[in-house]
């Protein structure tokens, strides 16, 4: 009896010690741990220490700012996040932070639901734009990896029926040239990055080939690929916390008959390529294609056929443009999230027959996008 009492006492001491050690050791370690300003994984600046002014403390948001700062710089932050992800999978979860954890080390964004009202709204904006300018739009909505990679999804991964959604949108846009690549996409093995929400060079090639056939009525060019990076850890890698996932490769897209290009950005910066090698040293290597997000990009090529394309797009178009630009003498690219002026003005009245307008979006962005209203 006495002995078990003794033992109980010891256990209590140890439990108490473990608890105190845990909170005290981590607190102290955290105090002295080196702080960084930028989180690679989150691709954002970490919050700075809040202002200590009396005003901010008494009337401002000192409390929440401090708590955000404290959490942002917490010791071993990325490790904790990975632990949480692996704990969840240990307990049978098939997703974490909105990402499906799929076979073959694939991380696929969940597309659980879609706001149909917003879809209708966006469709009507496209219709209005088309009428206003008396131009038929070539609309390409790229299904997400949840559709294109569905054979890798875990059992019971529930997503919006993208095929049906595309058909529904296609019907509403019947008078436009609606390009549905959903069947073609399934014909290649991996049309998407494993660790990013974007499609890859294979997926974009499919779309290019379909566009050649359906819009341009000509044979597509041939391309070769050069492996320029094997260390691309994309958006889904970051979001999922599944930091054990191996990295993706990035490929440079090289046309068989190389023609010179001149790329001009909204700030006047000029490049003679659509690829930016410096970005391969950064976290978000998808920006290798067309330098990431810009409100306006002008691409001029050596293909002197007098044809012009106007592309209204989100980032899904960045990897398609190295293909598509080959077919035009000039391509003007607009991102409505950053571009606030009129697009109609860019339609050259005398050259209407030689101008094609494209709307290229990821299907899920198109569904949730709130920027299409400022189309013209």
């Amino acid at each position: 009896m006495k002995k078990t009492d003794q033992k109980q006492k010891q256990i209590r001491m140890v439990v108490t010690g473990v608890f105190c050690l845990f909170i005290f050791a981590l607190s102290v370690a955290n105090l002295f741990a080196p702080k960084k300003d930028f989180s690679e994984n989150e691709n954002r600046m970490l919050s700075p220490f809040p202002s200590l002014s009396a005003r901010n403390i008494l009337l401002g948001d000192f409390d929440t700012e401090f708590e955000t700062w404290f959490a942002d710089h917490f010791i071993g932050r990325d490790d904790w996040i990975m632990r949480k992800a692996s704990l969840r999978t240990d307990f049978g979860a098939i997703d974490n932070n909105g990402v499906w954890l799929c076979r073959d080390h694939r991380l696929v964004s969940q597309f659980l639901t879609c706001d149909y009202e917003n879809v209708e709204k966006n469709i009507s904006y496209l219709q209005e734009f088309s009428e206003e300018n008396d131009m038929t739009l070539n609309i390409l909505l790229v299904p997400t990896a949840a559709y294109g990679e569905k054979k890798y999804l875990p059992l019971a991964a529930a997503n919006v029926d993208e095929k049906a959604l595309l058909e529904r949108i296609g019907e509403s846009l019947g008078n436009q040239n609606f390009i549905d690549i959903s069947d073609d996409l399934l014909s290649v093995n991996d049309a998407y990055f494993r660790t990013d929400h974007h499609w890859n060079e294979k997926g974009a090639l499919i779309a290019y080939q379909v566009i050649c056939k359906e819009v341009l009525g000509r044979k597509p060019e041939n391309f070769t690929y050069e492996d320029v990076s094997d260390s691309f850890r994309g958006s889904m890698y970051s979001r999922s916390g599944a930091f054990w996932t191996p990295a993706d490769s990035i490929y440079r897209i090289i046309p068989e008959y190389d023609i010179p290009v001149t790329v001009t950005f909204e700030d006047g910066r000029v490049m003679d390529t659509m690829f930016v090698d410096e970005h391969l040293q950064e976290k978000d290597q998808y920006t290798y294609y067309l330098d990431g997000n810009h409100g306006y990009v002008n691409i001029k090529t050596g293909n002197a056929n007098g044809r012009k394309a106007i592309v209204v797009k989100d980032s899904f178009a960045h990897i398609l443009l190295p293909y598509l630009a080959q077919e035009y003498e000039e391509v003007e690219v607009f991102d409505l999230r950053y571009y606030t002026e009129s697009i109609s003005e860019h339609i050259d009245e005398e050259n209407r027959e030689k101008t094609d307008i494209y709307v290229i979006y990821g299907l899920d962005t198109f569904c949730s996008d709130n920027y299409l209203s400022i189309f013209w």
Binding site: V15, T16, D63, I81, A93, N293
Partner: protein
């Protein structure tokens, strides 16, 4: 600041424990008062003034009532009335003013404008705590506290400040003067606190996420079974959130040498709604019983009067939970069911098989949670509709997803609602493997930290400004 935050766990708590145990006993109430005021003022420093005002007038009136309660009953009564009125005025102003203004405006009476003041944290809890003090003195259930510091420590005490339990002064009056902080007690506190933290961080937050996801689905994706699953997860969220907070409060109290009364007793194992409310948020029910129901006459003035009293208590209980009509309705629903049980159903239930009693109780509880979950009445109807057939399917791929991805969570939650987990844990003490308990505590703490850090994780997907 909430207990389940990094700031609390890895800055506030260690600092408080260190200071508290470094100073001699006679300063500990002062330390407790100061750190609690800091805790309270963290979110809204100006509201410290409200708190100090509340402490001071309750303390002063407590002394006056104590002075007159034997000599001049009338004066004591007046003091008590003023004190209660002041408390209710504070609560009413901060919690219900906008509600009143909005409703009057809706009726076309425009003389009040909503002020949109932030609610001082825990005001619903600490005004109720504070009010128990003058009442208990008046009733000779306790004596006035001579020290405003000790009384202040009681009112602001950070463990139970934000979410209860509602501690009556008389229950801890002795502990304010002499309590013993021991390793054994600290150990109990650790186990209790870690249990509560796990309930809140691992179970409640995860369950809440499932309910939110269910809610985000559009009609095309909805199904009857998903709706039921969703509200079951909501029931888990509410229970583990609230009882987790109570556990953490009781645990922290023990670390500091206090024993608070229990607040929950496995409510989801109840066999009737009457039973449920004896097990759910017990400190609130006790408060309403002692300070509203019994003073109104309780069951001593005939059945009709008793039923009215029950209804009054439940109207107030609903309203206490939030300044919005859905909470009032929620309270009224419970009041009605309790009356029905009192009149005849309870006798029937006693004869019914146990599983039927549980099913009956849980269905009522789940329906009531729908009222609780949505402040907008059309959302309530919408959700109830889904549960009872107005959905696009009985079950679909989404149901399967929720079941598959959260099956472990569902099972763990269900088990944690029963005494099973606790008896298993106590079992660990007697095993030969002595390290089982400390190891478990360490693992749970680490898991909670991982989940809390992850909640602040905010990957920026597209670009950098």
């Amino acid at each position: 600041m909430v207990f389940s935050s990094l700031t609390f766990l890895f800055a506030y708590l260690p600092a408080v424990l260190a200071v508290y145990f470094l100073v001699p006993f006679r300063f500990r109430n002062l330390v407790l008062l100061v750190v609690s005021l800091f805790f309270y003022g963290w979110g809204e420093p100006v509201y410290i003034l409200v708190m100090i005002f509340s402490i001071l007038f309750n303390w002063v009136f407590g002394r006056l009532i104590g002075q007159y309660r034997d000599s001049d009953r009338k004066k004591a009564q007046t003091c008590l009335a003023i004190c209660i009125a002041l408390n209710l005025l504070l609560l009413g102003f901060f919690k219900y003013f906008d509600f009143l203004a909005d409703n009057l405006n809706a009726l076309g009476i425009m003389f009040l404008k909503p002020l949109h003041l932030g609610l001082p944290i825990g005001i619903s809890f600490y005004t109720f705590q504070a009010m128990s003090y003058p009442i208990d003195i008046y009733r000779h259930d306790t004596n006035p506290q001579p020290s405003p510091v000790s009384f202040g420590a009681y009112v602001t005490m950070f463990p139970q400040l934000i979410a209860g339990p509602i501690v009556r002064y008389r229950d801890i009056a002795d502990m304010l003067e002499n309590r013993r902080e021991t390793v054994d007690k600290f150990y109990e506190g650790v186990i209790r606190f870690v249990t509560g933290l796990a309930k809140k961080v691992l179970l409640a937050n995860s369950a809440g996420l499932v309910f939110d996801t269910v809610n985000s689905l559009s009609f095309e994706q909805s199904s009857v079974l998903t709706a039921w699953l969703g509200i079951i997860f909501y029931a888990f969220q509410i229970y583990f959130d609230f009882s987790g907070y109570s556990d953490m409060a009781i645990g922290l109290g023990k670390m500091l040498g206090f024993d608070f009364l229990e607040n929950f007793n496995y409510p989801y194992t109840a066999r009737s709604i009457t039973d449920f409310w004896r097990r759910w948020h017990m400190s609130l029910s006790t408060w309403f019983r002692d300070y509203v129901y019994i003073p109104l006459g309780g069951n001593r003035r005939g059945l009709a009067r008793q039923l009215i009293n029950i209804m009054i208590v439940w109207l107030l209980t609903g309203f206490w939970h939030g300044a919005s009509w859905n909470f009032v309705l929620w309270g009224v629903l419970y009041g009605a069911v309790l009356i029905i049980e009192k009149l005849f159903l309870l006798k029937q239930l006693e004869k019914a098989p146990g599983w039927l009693c549980h099913v009956y109780t849980m269905i009522i509880v789940l329906i009531a949670w729908v009222l609780f979950a949505f402040t907008d009445f059309s959302d309530v109807l919408n959700y109830l509709g889904m549960m009872f057939g107005h959905a696009s399917a009985f079950a679909n791929i989404y149901t399967l997803y929720f079941l598959r991805s959260h099956l472990a969570l569902l099972i763990i939650c269900a088990l944690a609602c029963t005494p099973v987990a606790k008896s298993r844990f106590n079992f660990l003490k007697d095993r030969s493997f002595a390290l089982a308990q400390p190891l478990l505590v360490l693992l749970v703490l680490a898991a909670c930290t991982a989940f809390i850090v992850d909640a602040s994780y905010n990957p920026f997907l597209y670009f950098r400004f």
